[in-house]
Structure formats: structure tokens, C-alpha cells
């Protein structure tokens, strides 16, 4: 049997773009984790609510993308600010487990809100990217995948620069290391926390818009939150590079698994493979592929 290279290329591009979106959402997780060591379990719901909000702006209100998308960004900023200000800030200095439980509660709250406001089961965003297909050899690739990959790379680049060079980014990393010392430098940690939540929500919203533009909006998007967790765990909880590498690994494993193994094994295999990979990696490298090792001076 000849290997079908065209099909392989299609799987690869699809897997890469979906994986990049996972990585992007994973960054939203890492942002909060890096600044405050809180695992944000509401991530999937934030992705979903931003997608629905985008739907309202673009499809229902009929705004053009250059007006609608900035409004979505502002909505996400506001969402992040509200969550941090009213749900998490009152719990500062409480055990980290309570904070994580609160994010779980926020997730369910958002889910309820979503079914209340958008009772539809699925919807599609208007086209954001050109529809023409690209032919590479025998492969037919939809252009939007390429756009998605490009936008994800841009966001990664912007965030990486932000964390390396911007003083707020550096302050966020510093807060992750030593909150007390950050306060001793006169930096308001509360502002660091709310910035990290606002950024995280925007990143998650970008991820939501991208993934619903290549697929559709449905309750299944909440699961991308779960996928993002697996990316984060695979890549290392606080590592950007880790997320960028692990995202495509998960995405590719999913599409290759779905494409090649379904007929030999069973239909749900595509959802299992990423987790099999994670378990294997965690056994070998418990910090994840690129996780920060704890620096211990003895």
C-alpha cells in the first residue's frame, strides 16, 4: 500500500493548527500559574464564553470583524478583571486549594450563564479568514489553518517578548518566585494578579475565536480547556516554550490518531492518545518537558 502523502500533510497541518490553539489556551493557564500558582480550572468555560460572545458580536449584531474582535478583547479583559477582583482577591493568603476550588466554581457559574444567554447547542462564526484552498502536491489544505498557525505564533512571540522585556512581565515572573520580596520592592501584587488574569482571559479568548472559526461553537469547546491542561502538564506548568512544543504534540497525536488508528482500533482513540503520551512523559520527566526545576541551594 502506498503511503498517502497528501493525506499525511493534511493531517499534519490540521494537527499543527489545532495544537497551536491548545498551546495558546495553555498559555492562558501558564500566565496565571506563573504569577500566582493558581490552577485556573475555569479555562475551558472562559474559552467557550468568549466564543459565544464573539458569535453575538459578529453573527447576531453583525459587526464587522475589525470592530467586533476588539470588543471581544475588551470583554475578555473585563472578564479577567472581574474574576480576579471579586472571586480571587478576597481569598489572597488563603490556602491555594481554596483558590483552585473557587476557579472550579467560576467555571460552573460561567457554564450556567452560557446556557442561559446562548441556549443554542451549536453555532458557526462568520468566516474570518479567506476560504480558498491551497494545493500542495496532492494535498488540499484549507487556508484558515495556515492563518491560525500564523496568528498563534504571533501571539506567542508577543507574550514571550512581554515576559522577557516588559517590566510588568518581569514583575509577574518575580511574583511567582517570591511574593514577599516583590512587595518589599513596593510592587502591588494585587495588580500583578489582576494583570495576569486579564491577559490570560484575552489569550483564552483568542484561542476560542480561532478554534471556533476552524470548527464551530459548541459545548465541546469546554474540553479544549482540558486539552490545554494536558498541554500545560506535558510542557511543564510554567514554561512558555513547553506549551508551544507540547501543544502541537498533542494536536498532532490527536489528528494522526484519529486519522490512522480509528479504523484499526476504536472510534474514541483520538481522545485517548494525548493522555497516553502525557503519562509516559510524566513518568520520565515529572516537571514536564520544559518545566522549571526547583532551584534548591543546599
Amino acid at each position: 500500500m502506498d503511503f498517502n502523502w497528501g493525506e499525511f500533510l493534511q493531517f499534519t497541518i490540521t494537527g499543527l493548527s489545532v495544537g497551536m490553539v491548545y498551546a495558546l489556551i495553555a498559555l492562558g493557564f501558564a500566565l496565571i500559574w506563573k504569577a500566582s500558582s493558581v490552577a485556573n480550572l475555569a479555562l475551558g468555560q472562559i474559552v467557550l464564553i468568549s466564543s459565544w460572545f464573539t458569535y453575538s458580536m459578529l453573527a447576531q449584531a453583525g459587526l464587522p470583524a475589525y470592530i467586533g474582535l476588539p470588543i471581544v478583547a475588551i470583554f475578555a479583559l473585563f472578564l479577567g478583571w472581574v474574576i480576579e477582583r471579586f472571586a480571587l482577591r478576597p481569598l489572597i493568603a488563603q490556602p491555594i486549594l481554596s483558590l483552585i476550588a473557587v476557579t472550579l466554581g467560576i467555571g460552573y457559574f460561567l457554564e450556567g450563564l452560557i446556557t442561559f444567554i446562548w441556549p443554542l447547542s451549536t453555532a458557526a462564526l462568520p468566516d474570518l479568514f479567506p476560504k480558498e484552498v491551497i494545493h500542495i502536491g496532492s494535498a488540499v489544505i484549507s487556508q484558515e489553518y495556515v492563518w491560525v498557525i500564523g496568528i498563534c505564533l504571533l501571539v506567542f512571540l508577543a507574550l514571550t517578548m512581554f515576559f522577557r522585556y516588559h517590566r510588568m512581565g518581569i514583575a509577574m515572573r518575580a511574583t511567582a518566585d517570591d511574593q514577599m520580596a516583590v512587595q518589599a520592592c513596593g510592587i502591588p501584587v494585587t495588580r500583578v494578579f489582576s494583570t495576569s488574569w486579564m491577559f490570560a482571559c484575552v489569550v483564552a479568548a483568542i484561542g476560542g475565536v480561532l478554534i471556533s472559526s476552524i470548527g464551530s461553537i459548541s459545548h465541546g469547546l469546554v474540553e479544549t480547556g482540558l486539552k490545554a491542561f494536558s498541554v500545560v502538564i506535558l510542557g511543564g506548568l510554567d514554561s512558555f516554550i513547553g506549551a508551544i512544543v507540547a501543544g502541537p504534540i498533542i494536536g498532532l497525536a490527536e489528528t494522526y490518531g484519529g486519522g490512522y488508528l480509528t479504523e484499526h482500533l476504536w472510534a474514541g482513540v483520538r481522545d485517548v492518545i494525548p493522555f497516553v503520551i502525557i503519562i509516559i512523559v510524566m513518568v520520565i520527566k515529572p516537571y514536564g518537558l520544559f518545566g522549571e526545576e526547583r532551584i534548591e541551594r543546599i
Binding site: 518575580a174 518566585d177 517570591d178 514577599m180 520580596a181 516583590v182 520592592c185 513596593g186 510592587i187
Partner: protein
């Protein structure tokens, strides 16, 4: 000028750790705050810098005045903006950041961004070793280098009052001297007041203008550095010297332990 008027500090509303501490830091002076463990030195610093609120402590009586304005209710951010910066005890570097990033965190709140770069050079001038290590991860620096980094970070805020909590902790004597020389130079060149908490009484009094001795949450003795250096009690209880100025041999101790005069 910083003035503490008879402050009391209570943690968690029940544990009183300071019972009326008064002290004054004149502009441009180096003040040493001396005493044994648990005397309340660090708490005093945290009361000034506002970090007390983070630890559920509170100034329950008395006042802290900075240039005539009461600051005991302000938080660390507001106090930092007034130009009071504390370097914590025990080398709190940001482990995963590079040395230079650590220094930049110190300059976070500065409004004069264009002056930050020259100040970075200033810090490298005081601590040439940090310049060589600028790209190294701070967590892997040696103890002395980390201490330099913490002091350098405080310098980057361009404070009017720099509070150092035991900069000699766990360092080799030669390094301690080096760091103290730099603190002294910084004070005289930049006119920054320094409030120094120290257990190493001898070295602290060598650079300080005035000193306060604390015990059990109270100031028991204060005066100029020379006065304290020559005080019999300080010599005996904090420098381990007997009245003759020679090293005391505990092998020959037969007498009853002399009572401190301030009790």
C-alpha cells in the same frame, strides 16, 4: 527624616511583639538597630515598610512619621513610593530571573524610566561582580552574590531610606566587610539614609552614626556609635568582651552573671 514614636505592634490582634519603640533616622544617616534574635528588630523594619500588613500584624499604638506625614497605616506600595525600601532578611532573590532582571524589578515603580539604565551602571559600579553575572540565573549565585543582588535591587529603587535586614547573615567575614564598605560608600555618595538591622554589632557600629539596642520588643539603649561601642554592657553582652577589653574566657567564669545595667 523618619520618626517612630512609641510604637506597639500586635500580630493577629493578640501577640504583642513591640512594646513602645521610638527611634529617629536623620536624613543621610546610617542607623544600626541591634539586638538578639526575637528582639523585634525585623518587626520594626516591617512596621516601617508596611510589610507588616501582609503578615497580619498591625501598629496598634504610637505613630510612624516620614517627613512629618504619618505612614503607619499605609501599605508597602504606598510606602515604597515615598522612597522607603526594605531589603528582606535572608537573600530573597527571584531565583528564576537573571541578576539583571532582579535589579530591574527593584526599579519597577520608578517614574524616571530614562534614569534606570544609568542607575544599573551605578549598581554595577558598587558591585562589579554583579556585572559579570548579569545574565546568570539568580538562584544559582553564591550566598554573597545573592546578598549583593538584594542590596543592589534596593538601590535600584533610588530610595531615600534603605532598610537592610541582616546583610551579614551567613556570609564569610571578609565578604561582610566588603558589603559594609559598599553600604557606607553608597550612603555617603548618594546621601541615602540607611537603617540597618544587625546581629554583628561590631561591624554595624563601625559604619553607623547612631545605634539602638533592642531587647524583648523595647529599645533599651541608644546613642552614638562610639558611645555604644564603649558601653560596658554592649561590650560584654554583644561583643563578648569583658570590662578590660580583652576576650573573655568562659572557662574561668566563677562569678555570678552580672546584671545588665539597663534592666
Amino acid at each position: 527624616m523618619l520618626k517612630l514614636n512609641n510604637i506597639e505592634v500586635t500580630y493577629l490582634n493578640v501577640i504583642r511583639v513591640l512594646h513602645g519603640v521610638s527611634l529617629t533616622v536623620e536624613d543621610g544617616a546610617i542607623i544600626a538597630l541591634l539586638g538578639a534574635n526575637g528582639a523585634g528588630k525585623s518587626t520594626t523594619l516591617k512596621a516601617i515598610s508596611g510589610l507588616l500588613h501582609v503578615e497580619e500584624g498591625e501598629v496598634t499604638d504610637g505613630s510612624i512619621e516620614w517627613n512629618g506625614v504619618r505612614i503607619e497605616k499605609k501599605n508597602a506600595e504606598q510606602i515604597g513610593k515615598l522612597g522607603i525600601i526594605q531589603a528582606l532578611e535572608g537573600r530573597h532573590v527571584f531565583e528564576h530571573l537573571t541578576s539583571e532582571e532582579n535589579l530591574m524589578v527593584g526599579a519597577h515603580n520608578r517614574k524616571d524610566r530614562h534614569a534606570v539604565k544609568p542607575d544599573l551602571e551605578m549598581v554595577y559600579d558598587y558591585f562589579p561582580r554583579l556585572k559579570d553575572l548579569r545574565r546568570n540565573t539568580a538562584g544559582y549565585l553564591s550566598g554573597g552574590e545573592q546578598q549583593m543582588l538584594v542590596i543592589g535591587r534596593a538601590m535600584m529603587a533610588r530610595p531615600k531610606l534603605m532598610m537592610l535586614d541582616e546583610p551579614s547573615l551567613g556570609l564569610a567575614p571578609l565578604l561582610v566587610e566588603e558589603i559594609y564598605d559598599i553600604i557606607k560608600r553608597f550612603n555617603s555618595e548618594q546621601k541615602t539614609s540607611v537603617l540597618l538591622v544587625e546581629q554583628n554589632v561590631r561591624i554595624a557600629l563601625n559604619i553607623a552614626h547612631n545605634g539602638y539596642v533592642m531587647e524583648n520588643g523595647r529599645v533599651v539603649l541608644d546613642g552614638s556609635a562610639d558611645f555604644l561601642k564603649n558601653n560596658e554592657d554592649v561590650k560584654e553582652f554583644y561583643m563578648g568582651l569583658s570590662t578590660l577589653g580583652t576576650k573573655k574566657s568562659y572557662r574561668e567564669v566563677k562569678h555570678y552573671k552580672r546584671r545588665k545595667r539597663w534592666l
